[in-house]
Structure formats: structure tokens, C-alpha cells
Subunit: 292 residues, 4 copies
Amino acid sequence: MFGVKTLRTVGPAVCRRGASVLWKPTKTQSRPQSAAAGQRVDIGGIYPPIATPFTQKEDVDYHKLDENLQKYAKIPFKATKGTVVMTERMAGAGADLVLVVTPCFYKGKMDSRALVHHFTQVADSSPVPVVLYSVPANTGLDLPVDAVVRLAQHPNILGLKDSGGDITRIALIVHKTKPQDFQVLAGSAGFLMAAYSVGCVGGVCALANVLGREVCELEQLCMSGRWEEASALQRRLIEPNTAVTRKFGIPALKQAMEWFGYHGGTCRSPLQPLSEAESQQLRLDFSTNGWL
Amino acid sequence: MFGVKTLRTVGPAVCRRGASVLWKPTKTQSRPQSAAAGQRVDIGGIYPPIATPFTQKEDVDYHKLDENLQKYAKIPFKATKGTVVMTERMAGAGADLVLVVTPCFYKGKMDSRALVHHFTQVADSSPVPVVLYSVPANTGLDLPVDAVVRLAQHPNILGLKDSGGDITRIALIVHKTKPQDFQVLAGSAGFLMAAYSVGCVGGVCALANVLGREVCELEQLCMSGRWEEASALQRRLIEPNTAVTRKFGIPALKQAMEWFGYHGGTCRSPLQPLSEAESQQLRLDFSTNGWL
Amino acid sequence: MFGVKTLRTVGPAVCRRGASVLWKPTKTQSRPQSAAAGQRVDIGGIYPPIATPFTQKEDVDYHKLDENLQKYAKIPFKATKGTVVMTERMAGAGADLVLVVTPCFYKGKMDSRALVHHFTQVADSSPVPVVLYSVPANTGLDLPVDAVVRLAQHPNILGLKDSGGDITRIALIVHKTKPQDFQVLAGSAGFLMAAYSVGCVGGVCALANVLGREVCELEQLCMSGRWEEASALQRRLIEPNTAVTRKFGIPALKQAMEWFGYHGGTCRSPLQPLSEAESQQLRLDFSTNGWL
Amino acid sequence: MFGVKTLRTVGPAVCRRGASVLWKPTKTQSRPQSAAAGQRVDIGGIYPPIATPFTQKEDVDYHKLDENLQKYAKIPFKATKGTVVMTERMAGAGADLVLVVTPCFYKGKMDSRALVHHFTQVADSSPVPVVLYSVPANTGLDLPVDAVVRLAQHPNILGLKDSGGDITRIALIVHKTKPQDFQVLAGSAGFLMAAYSVGCVGGVCALANVLGREVCELEQLCMSGRWEEASALQRRLIEPNTAVTRKFGIPALKQAMEWFGYHGGTCRSPLQPLSEAESQQLRLDFSTNGWL
């Protein structure tokens, strides 16, 4: 009910760090194991929230999902082999992190007090580390800065995925959670460079399902301080990113995946397929930026 | 996932019409049975969305729920006996109507086309009639008027619960669905009289859990054209209603139920109990209007 | 700077009460004269916020304005002659009431305290009575209920024009200002009947520039308790009203005035003329409700 | 009526470039002179929107304003002397640029078409270059990206001040106006570094009235590619910046100016002075970041 979803997609596209750290077997440890083990779980890097292909009957098409994963693995990410192993392990063994979205139905009552209470309960009982997830475009609710600062002190909460894109807010969260070495991830490729510039450590980027190499290249440019080049690349990624997220959403993401050699397929209801005009505009958003 | 919830609370507080019409055994009919049977299912009247008492462990406290239902049945509603029977039947047999809230997570993509498609699918496959539910304060999404008008033509969709409170919109929906004899319910006691004045047939009112008699009295005044008295009563109900909904929410509803002799009890997480100051303000919202 | 505008349009379409009360020469009295004179200024009734015709050069076209006023005067309003006299007097002598909109540029700081201070200053120094004006669609700001309740106690503030259309809020304001005999006006014909039902005394209705007779008829039906007929008429007025306000705005109001025999003319920048498609939809909004 | 205000504050705090370019006497040229003269008017750098001190009677206190300007001139900005000369010239001769805010009262009708038409008219007739100004927190309206892109092609429109803080949007505007060498300014110090990182050329920062040196230092760090240091400084400026803008507004800006040796004084109505608790929180927002 509270939107717990697994970070099942962590592996395949991590481009910066070895998956071995990320995927250390943690299930058998006592909780909160990340703290108990005395080790920092590093969640930096680029994560594509992997699109799920469906069959005509709207069931998950595992065969096509596997083919996509093979392709993502062939991209020269740093952790190629490990991530494939991990991906396979995930299917059987469950996630190594959980990404927990803000509860939002009674959003009028979801103040800092209620949200701190909620995430504390979840983190207390979760066998794996928790990453907070704030996505106001979908939930109508921003996880307040003061709540994040409080929750960052919990030993089993190690980061935040922030999809709101308010860079002032994101920078302030980085600033105020410095003592906890809290890890903040940009929730979109649209503001990825700005996020790196203020101290974020990675991104969970829908666009990485389509332009995975390019998003990882942007990360590399930011990590190595080549801001001029980063800026030029970042700007060319904004329209494609907006097209597969806010503007046309998941149907566009899946359509674009097809153009770039992945299995995208159809969406499940209530999401609707793109109209012909939308599809053309989507193509334009890629082609005018030199990607098609 | 799409928030289908049963109108399990239909019975106990229907104050205007016999439950026999409402609760005709419909389960064995072929679907869509409401149309197939050639009969109009009348959903007019006042419905309290019955609060669920929980035990300390946050499980449903069926014993206390039953005691509340006995009390609601002692209020001189028109359909006292029948509704108790119906309520008991509900527990065993499932709901006779479903109230289906708008899907809302990908709210940016939930345009009229997607919503019409979604509700049509649900209504096509539902064994019992469907009531649409638009509650923008919780979902961040209004079911568009043109979508309602389209959906009103579906034989298995017989009404709408509108909790937004935009009376112009509600009146327009009544106006444009007249040919289908579509039944619109106010989703709150705060604008119940205005809703009746523009042609609504009832209300699903949280406040009816607390001031059930008074809400039914308001209905009677509206139904019999005694608008001056209705207006005076309506105005005294607004602050208590706002207090148990938008202002303090479900914790306040449960608190107020206790004051008026019902089992309210605590809320489940992530909802938080009222602070002392909030509880005092809640009491004031009832007492300054002469209810405590 | 703070959007003070005169209720210059009071006269022509008052349909319920004599203009003589409304238009008593007040300029020479000491302020606040409404209180000083010990008399209640009655602002009930229907007011069209009269559209201003412009010449090609975007100057006021007084000749056409006069012709419109002559036509409005020929409608069998109760106060025909008086209002024409008053209208002429207005041109020369200034307004008898001021309608003061909420300041809104620094809207983040416009809390109850600031707004009460502002309107108190204005009312203290105004030689004529003040009507508060809350229009969130334009200002992004609702005058809070508690501020209205405070301000209703000021002897030189006699009412509120509320264009937000939140009928629960409007009813609550009527309820909480009863001791002051505060007069609340609906700011739109879209919710005029609902507003009367909860105790409003009139309306300032853009639609009255086009369908003046019908809006006044709706008022009469409400005033005389013929709610069934009122409801039917109200519902037919919603689409035309929305079309000339929220949906297409002032350009549509002026276009529709032309269709109904008034001078509407063009708008001044930055407002743009209707496209052909918008114009056709506007016509449809009138014709499907039987007005064209 | 359309919120034209002069960039009268351009001079005193420009820290990067000589004022001589900025302040070239342009009044006698034919319009649009910036294009006609075939020269680029460079508006890069940091601008404090200089606070206006008032007397007790709420008149402008020119004496105190002058003292503030003398102090700003003593900060080692690059253009110290020139800007003082310019500032004095401004008083007598009028502005060299105009900053034109989006019209917003009929915001429902302010689509791209209307806004392009409006700004084109203004720019066509303005004797000095125009800078667009989008400030959704005050106007409830964002100047759409496509409108900015269109307007950037006008020879007398040379830039945009964007106070919305949506860094994705700002980067996209920079990207799509590259061919016109359009100059984008951050409208707040809260996202100044992120703005530089995506290609902005300066900022109009309320905080520069208080921490002028530090804001200019941030600019220098960004300009010289020292992003790590920039990031650390940027993060320490966010809370003070939010405190003097969105959180407590202009009264806080003026209060903080007093603490840092400038004349701030009181605000004019309807803005209200800070409460004691607000004043303490304001101080905390500076002190916890090491500024007090």
C-alpha cells in the first residue's frame, strides 16, 4: 500500500562502481545490517529504472526483459559481468535495497511528523537498507527537507531519490545531511549535471533505458570536472528526457527504447499508447538534439 | 492497485429509501446486471463512509465495528432493519456496488482518454454496478466532466461520488447526464445542500459517522423544499465537517466519534494521532456550532 | 497599485432593488459615511461587471458604452430609470462603492495579518464603503475566511465579492459574519443559485452583460423559493458562463455581447482575439443550452 | 499596469565586468539601438535588486539609499567607480535597460501567443533593450519556453531573468537560444551555481544586498571552474537566501541588511514587519551557516 518497490534495476547500468560492493550478500545479516556491518553501502552512479516489457495479455514478458538486460550488459559499463550475475540473482533472491515512495493518499495529513514516523517504521523493520523516494509529480507531495534531515540519521536509511528537480532544495538536503554521509540521487536526467554540481552522487534516470551510454558519459564528465563538455551534453539530453517522462511518459519511453534497439512494447492500462502526432513529436525531440 | 473499494457502508445510514431496492441480490445475474435486469438501482440518500476501528495491533476490531453498526441502526433511519440485515450480508457476501477511485500515480498521463478507457474496462468486467469516485484532495486529479459524461452512458456505471466540492462542476455534470438518469452524490457534508439544490441525489459524508441524524435531517429539509431551515442547518455543519475531513482528517473523525458515543479508536500509520491543541480546536469546531 | 477599482457598473443591471438606496449621494459626507449615516447600504442584486468597448486605437469608446447602457436600461430591471441617471452621474462624479481586490504580487507574504492590515488601512481612508474582492483565479490568492470575519467588523466594509466558487467556504463566511449583516456576492453566474441557497445576497456576473434578463430571472426564482425552476435555469447557464469567463475569457464575453445586440468589440493587449475554432465552440456553448 | 520596472540597480554591484559597456549612453540612439548599433549589450554578472529605504511616512528615503550605494561601491567590485557614476546618472537620466515582468492578472489567458504578442509590442516601442522577467512565485505564471525562444529572436530583447528555479527549464532555454546569444540570468542566489553550470551569465540576487561579496565570490568560482569550492559556498548561501526571499520575504531582507551595515528600514504596506520569532529564525539561518 505504501509504494514500497525494490531497486531491482540497480545492477545492469551502474557505470561507475563495481557491483560487488553494491551487491554484497546482505540477507543473512542482522538488521540494520548496513550499519551493523560497519560498512558504507555506496549507491552512487547511474541507474535506469528498467522498463518492464509486457505480453499482449499484459503479463510480464520475461524473455524480452532478459534480452534487454543482455543488451544493457554489453554497454561498456564498469561492472558488466557482475551486474548480469546480480540481475539474475535478484530475480531469485529479492532486492538489496528498497526504494520507498512517500505515502500520499491522505496527502493533507502527510506532514513531517507523519512522514518521519512512517519511514522510521519501515526502516526499523526492513532487512535491507532503505532509500527515500520523493516524486511530487506523481504523489502531489514533496518529502519536506526537515523530514529528510531527521531520517538521514537513521542507520538503515542511506539515501534519497529526488525527482522533483528543485535544485535549491536538493543542494540544501546535501548540505544539511553532510554529517551523515547521506547519498542523494537525482531522479531524472534532466537536472543530472546540476545535481552533481551541488553534491549528488548519482541518478535514477528513465532516459538511461534509451541513451544509457550518453547518460553515463555525462556522469563521467561531471565526476572528472569537465563542466563545459558536461554542460553541452546535458543540454542536448533535456528534450529527450522530458519527452520520455513528464511530456509523454512511459508510453514514450517504451517507444524510444524500440528505436534504440531495446524491447519496449506496450504499456498496461490505464496508460494509453501514443497518438501518431505524439510519436512524431517524440522523434523530433530526439532528432533535433542529434540522437536520431 | 487502482483503488477499487467496496461501498460496504451503504446500508447502515441510508435515511431516505428502503435498502431493499439497494440491496437486491445481484450477484447471480449476468453482467452488466443493472442494465440487463432493466431496473434502476437507486443510490440516493446519505451514506457514512464507516470508520474502521482497529485494535492496538492495528488489526480490524470487528467487535467494535459491530457495536457501532448496532448504534447506527438505532437512529431512526427509514431502513433500519433492512440495513442491519444488509450490513451482515455484506460481511459475508461482498459488496453490491463498487466505488472506483481515479487511478492517479501517473497523473500527468491520466487524461480523459486514459480515464474513460480505464473505467470502461472496470465497468465491463465488474459483476456489480460501478460508482465513479473523484477526490482531487487525495489524488491530485479531477475526473474531467467530459469523461464523466462519456462514462455515464455505460450501462454498468450508475453514478459519481464527487468530493471536490466545485459546485459549478457538479451542477454541470448533473445537467449533462440528465438523459442517462445518472446519480451524483456529494462527497462531503460541507456542500451537501448546495449539491441537492443543483440536482444531486445524496451524499457520502464522513460527518455522518458523528452527526448522522443531523446530516439526514439536512437531507430531509432539502428533499422537502424547506431551504431556509436547510441553509441554517447546513451552515452549522461546515466547521465540524471541515474539522473531521480536510483540516484534521481521519484522526479527528475517530476522536469525534468517541465524543458522540461511537467507537473511533486510533488510526493506523502513517496517520498520526491529534495533538492536544488540535483536539481542543476540534472540540471548539463542534461546540461553537452548538453540537457539544 | 493594489487593484482598487470602482464598482462603476453597479447601476445598469440591478434587478431587485431600487438604485436610490444604492446611489445616494455620498461624496459630501464625512467618512466612513455608511456607518456615520447609521444606515445599511444594501448591495444585494445582480451586477454585470460592464465590459468596456474600445476604439481601434484601444481607447475607451464612450459612444458605444453609452449605447450599451441604453440597452441595459431597456431590460425591465426594477430600477431602470434610476440606474441610467446613476450611470451618468458615475461618469462625472466617481463611484459610490469601491471593490478592492486582494494585493497579490508578494503573494507568499499575503497572510491574514497582512491582508487585514491592508484592507483596514484602505477602509479607514476610503470616503465610500468598501467591498472586499477575492478572485483566486486571477490573483493566485484566496482572502482567508478568518481575515474576512475580522474585516466584516469594520464599519466601512460592507461586503465581499467571492469569485472562487468554493461554496463551502462561501457558506461558512455567510455563517460567521451573520452578526455583522455582512453582504456576500457571488462573483460568477456559474454558482449563483448555490450561493443564494447558502445566504448570499447577489452576484457580480460577467454573463449578465450577455444574458442579463436570464440572470435576473434566476435571482427572482431563488428569492421566491422556486428552487426546482431555479435549478433548471441555473444548469443551462453554466456552460455559457464558463465560456465567457474561465474558458475563453473577456474576448469571448465581448464576442457574445455582439451576438446578443450589445457592443463588445475587441480587447486590449495582452488579451488576444478568439481563434475561429474558439469562436465556434463559444457559439456551441450557448446554442446547446438553447440560448442561440 | 504591466509591471515594467527599470533595472535601476544594475550598476552598484556588477562584480565581473566594467560598467562602461553596460552603461554606454544609449538614450540618443534610434531604436532598437542595441541591434542598430551592431553591438552586444553584455548583461552578465551579479545584480542586487537594490532595496529601497523608506521614511516613517513610507516615502523613499533618498539619503539612506545614497549611503547604501556608497557602501556597495566600497566592496571591491570590478567596476567600482564607474558604477557609482552610473548610479548617479541613473537617478537623473532613467534606466538603460528595462526588466519587464509577465502580465498576469488574466493569467488563464496568458498563453504563449498572448505573451509573445505583449512582449513584442513592448520591445518594439522601448527606447532601451528589454530583459524578460519570469517570476512564477509572484505572478502564478511561467513564461513558456517556446515563448522565450520566439522572443529571443527580437533584436531589442536581450535576455531573461528567471526566478522560478526550475534548472531543467533554465538549461533548456539556454540551449534553445544559443543561436541568438541570448543572456539568461538566475533570479535568485539559491540556484546561482547550478545556473552557471548550465550556461547562465549572471544573477539578479536579493541576497547580494546583504552578502554581496560572497555572492560575487560564488560567481568568480563558477567563472573560473573551481566547482568544488563553488559548491561548498553555494550550499552555505541557500538558507540565508531562502530566508530573505521565499520564507520571510522583503521584511527579512531589510532586517538582514541592517545586521550587515546597510540601511534596510521598514517595509511599506501591505508587507508586515517580522515577528520576534521570525526575526530569531532569520538570524539562525545566517548564523548556522557561519555568516553571523
